[in-house]
């Protein structure tokens, strides 16, 4: 049964990685403005690509 201990540790580590990814994205400001990216995604980025 001790395999469960290993499995559980691994699973929590993976979940922890997701948590870190989430915290990182928050820190990066991805959740500061939820509205503009939703509008922006629809544009044909003709100009921005040229840069």
């Amino acid at each position: 049964m001790s395999v469960i201990i290993i499995l559980l540790t691994v699973s929590i580590c993976i979940a922890g990685a997701f948590l870190l990814a989430f915290l990182w994205s928050v820190k990066d400001g991805q959740f500061d403005d939820i509205q503009s990216p939703a509008e922006r995604i629809l544009f044909n980025n003709k100009f921005n690509n040229e840069q």
């Binding site: 929590i12 989430f22 922006r40």
Partner: protein, 809 residues
């Protein structure tokens, strides 16, 4: 055929802003424009291959009818002013954030983020749509702050530059801690629940003690960040409540969290049980989400504006013949200042040069512009309508007549801790629960079952945590705020919903609230005017700069002019002149010496030709569409009164509108308005809602239980208030109030449902046999029921009240 075609063209909407084109003289190819301003924006965009702007949304532009003068932004070359607007600069690269109230659609976003094509010095532009802000990085070598602002203005996005907004913005950085707390709580909740699975399925006896220990240890470890970080705001708020000696709802919540944790630790360490750590972290998780939903107040809207954001940043001061832009706070008494068309005069000053037509509607509520002679006083807050003025400053900005209102103690009063009635419900709830726990404890104590006694006391507290109450309140309010927002009705905080449902008296302002601020309607009564006579009148009134003359000229809308001889204007009285051997006189009844209809009140211009009175032009306020219906509807549930800073020429119309039993007051100063509200509150114990728009209402808005500010989309200033409503939606105010009342019912209903869950839990708890399984089932069940229930019911109510139109459109 040709006339038919003409009407079609005249009904054409402007390709840029969508307004009706007054004539078909302005066009490029097939695209018609309402004015040259719109046309020139189109030209600029066309030239730079930016016409995607028009294909993303139809008529995305902003009307450009008011021309912006060339050196308007000269003050931005001043280093001191620059420093206050710029966030960061290293001499080469400069960063700043500008507030653009015009941002409204994806076209705006697209265009503004491609602004570098119009001004090569701009390296990066990033729009924050919900805050209506643009973050710009530009190179000092290639461009200047002034050029950046001018580029934006050129395409119709004139930044709202105000020192007040800038200073508040910098201190108000986005708060991300709530996201961290929710993320962490969610993570811990999920994992603790996973490890508690064995307990739910009663496997715990079969699980090896070693693994059991590992599970429990890890659960405790995961529960720690929830307790100390995620739940910290409940403890802080509870402690503040204790310090201020009042019981707030967070106190029992904090108590329940702590007791659950302590008891779980005790159970686990003594191997007596498995604890309730999963329930604890779950409830914290759900409550944080609820709080987040509720606190998503509208970032675009600043509810705490004062006169400073209404005033310009700088003024043109003339010193020894040289014009120097000077920061507004540095303008001194006896300085000579220059004011252009459509600019606001921020100081009390004496007119020394130019013809002044001052619009005071926003400051005093007067609906007609006032003509001011040289040597007369102009008060701060007035807006010059047309022409260049020179003024001598009499009082500095901070000392002016207008800003004095802000010295009233009401503006310095800190908001006292607001108790909401859920807190009273919560309080009783807490008392009842504490009593239950105590009774159960004493009962088991007398039975000699000490272990059961502690069991009962703690589990009663755990189960009875008023989380459900908090959840139903947060989720309902959150959704109501969202629906209000979609309907352009914005509340400062969720507590306002409850206050809205409790008011019983509404005070209305006239100018700008019931009427449209800058539009008066002109009506002619009398002998029928032939085209010829019309053109005579039009030619005559065009010679005068009196506001009434301008309104009449606009009403007649005739371009051609006739020659006038012997034109004479009697200041403030009327005008006369000879056209084609006809003696024409226009003016007040006193000037003419008679009138057409003696019994019609209001502002009027009597028209006389060759000693015969033909008729008169009546100037009345234009009431907003649907106001009559709104007032009728409000009268059924509330008592109303009207208070206006304007003169009483509209008295009859207003009484017709409000009915005889409502109080109507005219000629009220800002302070009188404030005192009127105070008097209503103290003498009649009314819960008053004040609806106003201008700076003159600021005091009354602050004093009333709820201050509702009406804003026209073009006007980006609103006085400090509790809620803001877009003028076009004002007529739905009655529905909004009903919806707020409905919200209260929903909260009470969902609370009753969750109380039933609590009763089930208590049934087990009092007997001292609440197992983690029951707790683990009850907790998410009641939370999810409440979330679905409150969401479903508020949506249903919104459909019933027709508040969902915005979304489907």
């Amino acid at each position: 055929m040709s006339t038919n075609k003409n009407t079609i063209i005249n009904n054409k909407a402007c390709f840029h802003c969508g307004d009706d084109c007054p004539n078909d003289s302005v066009f490029i190819g097939e695209n018609h424009f309402c004015c040259n301003g719109c046309k020139s924006v189109f030209e600029i965009l066309n030239e730079h291959d930016l016409c995607t702007y028009y294909s993303l949304n139809s008529t995305p532009g902003i009307g450009q009818k008011n021309e912006i003068r060339k050196d308007k932004f000269q003050f931005l070359d001043n280093k001191d002013i620059q420093k206050k607007l710029i966030q960061f600069t290293n001499g080469k690269q400069t960063q700043l954030t500008l507030y653009l109230p015009q941002i409204h659609c994806s076209s705006c976003l697209w265009l503004l983020e491609n602004i570098h094509l119009l001004n090569a010095g701009i390296q990066n532009a990033n729009v924050n749509f919900s805050k209506k802000e643009i973050f710009i990085v530009f190179e000092e070598e290639k461009t200047t702050l002034r050029e950046v602002v001018e580029t934006l203005t050129k395409i119709g996005y004139e930044p709202h530059l105000s020192l007040n907004d800038v200073s508040t913005r910098q201190s108000n950085k986005t708060d991300r801690t709530r996201w961290y707390k929710i993320g962490l709580a969610g993570f811990c909740f999920g994992n603790i629940m996973m490890m508690s699975f064995a307990d739910y399925l009663s496997f715990s006896n079969e699980v090896e003690p070693k693994i059991q220990l590992y599970f429990k240890g890890l659960s405790i470890l995961l529960a720690l960040p929830v307790l100390f970080y995620s739940a910290s705001e409940f403890f802080v708020s509870a402690w503040n409540g204790i310090k201020n000696k009042y019981l707030n709802i967070d106190l029992p919540v904090a108590l329940a969290i702590v007791i659950t944790f302590v008891r779980s630790i005790y159970e686990i360490s003594s191997r007596a049980g498995t604890g309730y750590l999963d329930s604890m972290s779950g409830i914290v998780f759900f409550m944080l989400i609820g709080r987040w939903l509720q606190s998503r107040t509208y970032q675009t809207i600043s509810f705490d504006r004062d006169y400073k954001s209404f005033f310009p940043i700088a003024l043109n001061v003339i010193k020894e013949g040289v014009i120097t832009p000077t920061e507004i706070s540095k303008v001194k008494i006896n300085d000579i200042i220059q004011i252009h068309s459509n600019e606001i005069i921020p100081v009390d000053a004496i007119l020394s040069k130019g013809g002044a037509n001052i619009d005071y509607s926003f400051v005093s509520g007067e609906s007609l512009p006032v003509q001011i002679k040289i040597g007369e006083m102009i008060y701060a807050g007035g807006k010059q309508l047309e022409g260049l003025l020179e003024l001598i400053v009499v009082k500095e900005v901070s000392q002016s007549y207008l800003t004095n209102l802000w010295n009233n103690p009401i503006f310095n009063k800190k908001d006292s801790i607001k108790k909401s009635s859920y807190d009273t419900i919560g309080k009783y709830f807490t008392y009842v629960v504490l009593m239950l726990g105590l009774v159960a404890g004493i009962y088991w104590g007398f039975q000699g079952e000490t272990k059961l006694m502690w069991n009962a006391i703690t589990t009663v507290l755990i189960v009875a945590c008023p989380c459900a109450l908090l959840l139903s309140q947060n989720y309902t309010n959150g959704n109501i705020l969202r629906i209000f927002g979609l309907n352009k009705f914005y509340l400062r905080s969720p507590e306002i919903i409850e206050k809205l449902s409790k008011i019983n008296h509404i005070v209305l302002d006239k100018t700008g609230t019931l009427t449209q601020a800058d539009s008066n309607s002109v009506r002619y009564t009398g002998k029928v005017l032939t085209e010829e006579v019309k053109s005579y009148i039009s030619s005559l009134v065009k010679q005068s700069s009196h506001p009434a003359s301008k309104l009449v000229a606009h009403f007649l809308n005739i371009i051609n002019s006739e020659d006038i001889t012997n034109f004479k204007e009697t200041e403030g009285q009327g005008i006369e002149g000879w056209i084609h051997e006809h003696h024409i006189k226009l003016g007040s009844s006193k000037f003419i010496g008679g009138e057409y209809f003696a019994n019609v009140e209001g502002s009027k211009v009597v028209f006389q030709m060759d000693d015969e009175i033909w008729g008169e032009f009546l100037i009345t306020n234009k009431y907003r569409f649907g106001v009559t219906k709104l007032v009728q509807s409000l009268k059924q549930e509330y008592t109303l009164s009207l208070i206006s800073g304007d003169n009483d020429t509209e008295l009859r119309n207003v009484v017709d509108l409000l009915g005889k039993d409502s109080e109507v007051l005219f000629n009220q100063s800002p302070l009188e308005k404030l005192n009127y509200i105070k008097q209503l509150q103290s003498n009649h114990e009314l819960r008053v809602m004040m609806v106003g728009d201008g700076l003159n209402d600021a005091g009354a808005l602050k004093q009333s239980s709820i201050g509702l500010a009406v804003t026209d989309s073009g006007n980006n200033f609103t006085p400090s208030s509790d809620c803001i409503i877009e003028a076009s939606k004002l007529t739905r105010l009655d529905t909004f109030l009903k919806f707020a009342k409905e919200g209260r019912k929903i909260i009470l209903f969902s609370f009753t449902i969750s109380a039933m869950y609590n009763v089930i839990g208590l049934y087990f708890a009092i007997q001292g046999v609440l197992s983690p399984v029951i707790a683990a089932i009850l907790m998410p069940c009641s939370s999810i029921t409440i979330i679905l229930l409150t969401y479903g019911l508020t949506e249903l109510a919104a459909y019933r009240f027709n508040l969902k139109e915005e979304i489907t459109n």
